[in-house]
Amino acid sequence: MGAVPGTQSAPIGNVEFVWALARALLALAASAIFLTAAYLTFSPELAAYRAAAGSDNIQPRTIPGDDLTIRLGTGGTGRDKTLHLAGLSQDSRAIVTRNTSLQASDYPFVEYTINNLHPGAIVYLIWKTAENSEEISRARLHQSGNEVTTTCLGNDENWIGTITEIGFDVYGDLRDEALVISSLRILPYSPATLLAAIWSDWTMFEAWDQASINHLRGVPGNAILSPSVAIAAWAGLALLALGMVSLFKKAHNPIGYLAVIFIPWIVLDLLWQHRLSTQLTETKFLFQGKPQHERHLADLDADLYQYAQHLKSEVLPGPEARIFLLHDDKGERHNYRRLRTQFHLLPYNIYNYGSLPPRKHIRDGDYILVLGSINSLTFQSSENLMTWGERGRLEVEIVDEHPVGRLYQVGRGKAE
């Protein structure tokens, strides 16, 4: 076998590697300390929080879980001053609050400790102010990597004036496990609180949604600081420091350079892995151990899937039937329900555009599926007539009625 000369240079020795790695770690540590100190000192947002605060000696307000009153939903107090929120109301909602009196500008942060929080339960922090006592303001609280989560309200436009009532509003599904609220703390500005809020932002979890395939923000929309920017700055400054030292000593080591780039890279990667692992826990909860049919029933669009299965197995003839799927998209650019229904109805042959029947192209025996309600379309059951607009008329027979949609079959002799 021949050889390509000069393609592999002599490797760096083990000792040299360890020294290079140590220098890189030192550069990264110095970079982290310098950047954190600089950020805490010069950040304009933090200067604004400090300036807005009434005094330098504001004490945190702590509301133990058992101090919250259940306004909607069911539950009770538990050990260690906790509140166990065991059930939601009929409209899948629970509200727990407590009266208070504090100046929002003094308290730009909130820390909450909630156990058993999962993506099935959507939790908001809610509050009322003295200035606008009729209106309830709210901010979405995310599940983070820790039970104790800190969030910044200083940049929320409704977090102003005198807060008179505060608590949680919970929607969704508790999944047979009580939410255990240990405490709600309203906190003044401090560097430690700020860093805790940033960490909570970076470790927060949002389950997959339809935007996930397009982009990954990695943090909530109101996050204080992008992890990518912070970590790039960390790596960049360390690289600069290492470069300067190496230039001064006239000894460059590629391992050091690679380490100050890729150690921060790995840190960012581990944050992503944390999110993926949390997602996997959620995915397992929803789908593990279930056959495909039951997985669909556990999915977000279970109602559409069930409806499509009902039509396919109990109502429609073979897939040669032509279906006109009508839906009022109410101006939405992306129309999830009509498209998803079409998908679940495959392999049926579906025309899926518009909210009114394309009359001149409809044949006897075709089916019209009306998803949801369409105001401009009416069905007169006494005459078996579908009408719309001034002249739209079609003789149809209703074949199936369901909360999700109504299926008609075009009868013989189309009217006009």
């Binding site: 395939i213 000894a251 690679l258 996997l280 495909q292 897939p319 998908f343 044949r363």
Partner: protein
């Protein structure tokens, strides 16, 4: 047609194309004397999948019913032919780089990166196998054709919504829920169809395992090509880690079903092969890159451009420009641009369509009409590349390497074929989002990452390969 799930069918569908592609890839690349196992099986997967899709197409063309095991037998036959073709060809001496023995730290670092990759893909494989088809375009644009073909047992035509309304009573054609997706290339639905035929169902999470395999194959190809290009084992593994663990690569894998992963992998592998062609002038790599360019065009409409870029870069590598001819060509190009800007051009090519270029808009066959005007989308581009977590620190590193090239004066050197491909692809992507009405898909972040993903594999390859810019500083300082 949904029957009981066939595990044997699934395994066959996953690995038979891989074996087939690897055999023929070996047959082709062994003539070059420059290859390794990773290049063979990495590139082989894409070759195998394209041969599988092609076989399904031919099967239908000659009017045979879509029966999995008969198709599999055909692929097996092609494997046997490939095996004998390899045995029959004269052996070419394999050129290998002289590698010094690994230091302990190199083994530790390599193992560490392999562990990080393994940990990530252990998570991803569980997610893929548990979650029913989720992502939007997957169920709106790509899987419906496969589902219909699977159930009907033939390639039922898909037509535009207008044609669907006009169709005669004795014909059966389908249309899609998104207006233009009926005309999307068939390769991705064929990949899904292959898995559906194998498993005996159109509704199963395991149908989408090829989305995992293609990324793993891309990683193997990247590793193999980096090793061929002289990267040490830890550095090549680092390259694989940097690519395979990127959040946006992961999300395209785990929420399987989009075509973009396939375009990215195919374009990436084509650029890797093109690089090898550029460096060592071994024609099998030129053939491989052109085959993959062809596959690019069959995956998605933007794949036409990505395939075109491969061809253009390949042509740039075989046409040698002297100073005079270079200046003449540049002048001609500038004059063409001026002519188009002032007068515009508008003509039709028979069987292809209309081509119209002016400062107001562009009409290109298969791709359509795009109005031209400037849209400042910097905010979205910066957000998606530098602020969000899509690409980890990749774009920061790319900018840094660019600045380094400026600083050390290498920026004016003729770029390598890999860099040419990356820059042309970026130029295309930025042109589309800055100057056409597709800018809205950058502003709302629905498409911009799905376009940027195409350049990521060659970008990672280039950055690791270009380590010499960064790392050779050491040797300079040592030698001084």
């Amino acid at each position: 047609m949904n029957g009981s799930f066939s595990a044997l069918g699934l395994l066959t569908s996953l690995f038979l194309p891989w074996i087939l592609g690897s055999i023929w890839c070996y047959w082709l690349l062994s003539k070059s004397g420059r290859h390794n196992l990773f290049v063979i099986i990495g590139q082989g997967y894409l070759l195998g999948i394209s041969l599988t899709a092609l076989t399904l197409g031919v099967w239908e063309f000659i009017g045979l019913p879509l029966w999995f095991w008969a198709t599999a037998l055909t692929l097996l036959g092609m494997c046997v032919i490939g095996f004998f073709a390899i045995r029959g060809q004269s052996t070419t001496k394999i050129v290998v780089a002289k590698t010094p023995p690994l230091e302990k730290w190199q083994i530790v670092v390599t193992t560490f990166f392999i562990l990080l990759i393994s940990c990530r893909y252990t998570t991803l494989v569980q997610e893929i196998t548990l979650r029913p088809l989720f992502s939007w375009d997957a169920w709106m644009n790509w899987s419906p054709k496969a589902i219909v073909w699977f159930h009907s047992g033939e390639f039922t035509p898909f037509v535009s919504p207008g044609e669907w309304l006009q169709q005669a009573e004795d014909t059966t054609a389908y249309t899609m829920g998104a207006r233009d997706s009926w005309k999307y290339p068939a390769t991705v639905p064929l990949i899904q169809l292959w898995s559906m035929l194998a498993t005996g169902t159109s509704d199963h999470t395991l149908i989408y395992l090829p989305w995992l395999l293609v990324i793993l194959a891309l990683g193997l190809a990247l590793y193999g090509h980096l090793r061929l290009a002289g990267a040490s084992m830890p550095l090549a593994t680092l390259g694989c880690y940097a690519l395979l663990n990127l959040p946006y690569i992961n999300v395209q894998t785990v929420l399987a079903g989009y075509a973009d992963t396939w375009v990215a992998a195919t374009f990436g592998c084509a650029v890797f092969a093109l690089h090898e062609w550029g460096e060592h002038r071994q024609w099998p790599y030129a053939v491989l890159s052109l085959l993959l360019a062809l596959l690019c065009t069959q995956l998605k409409i933007p794949g036409l451009i990505m395939g075109g870029i491969i061809v253009a870069v390949f042509l740039s590598s075989i046409i040698k420009f002297g100073k005079t001819s270079g200046i003449t060509l540049l002048t001609a190009l500038v004059l063409c641009i001026v002519y188009i800007a002032v007068f515009g051009v508008d003509f039709s090519i028979p069987n292809l369509g209309r081509i119209a270029l002016s400062t107001d808009g562009i009409t290109v066959p298969y791709i359509g009409y795009y109005e031209l005007s400037y849209h400042p989308v910097h905010h979205a581009i910066i957000d998606t590349t530098l602020l969000m977590i899509n690409w980890n620190l990749l774009w920061y590193l790319f900018i840094f390497l660019g600045l380094l090239r400026v600083a050390n004066g290498t920026v004016f050197r003729t770029p390598s074929l890999a860099l040419r491909s990356v820059l042309l692809a970026l130029l295309f992507i930025f042109f589309v989002y800055y100057f056409t009405n597709r800018y809205i898909f950058a502003v709302d972040y629905t498409q911009v990452n799905r376009a940027l993903i195409y350049v990521i594999p060659p970008l990672v390859f280039y950055m690791i390969y270009a380590r010499s810019t960064l790392l050779d500083l050491q040797h300079k300082s040592r030698s001084s």
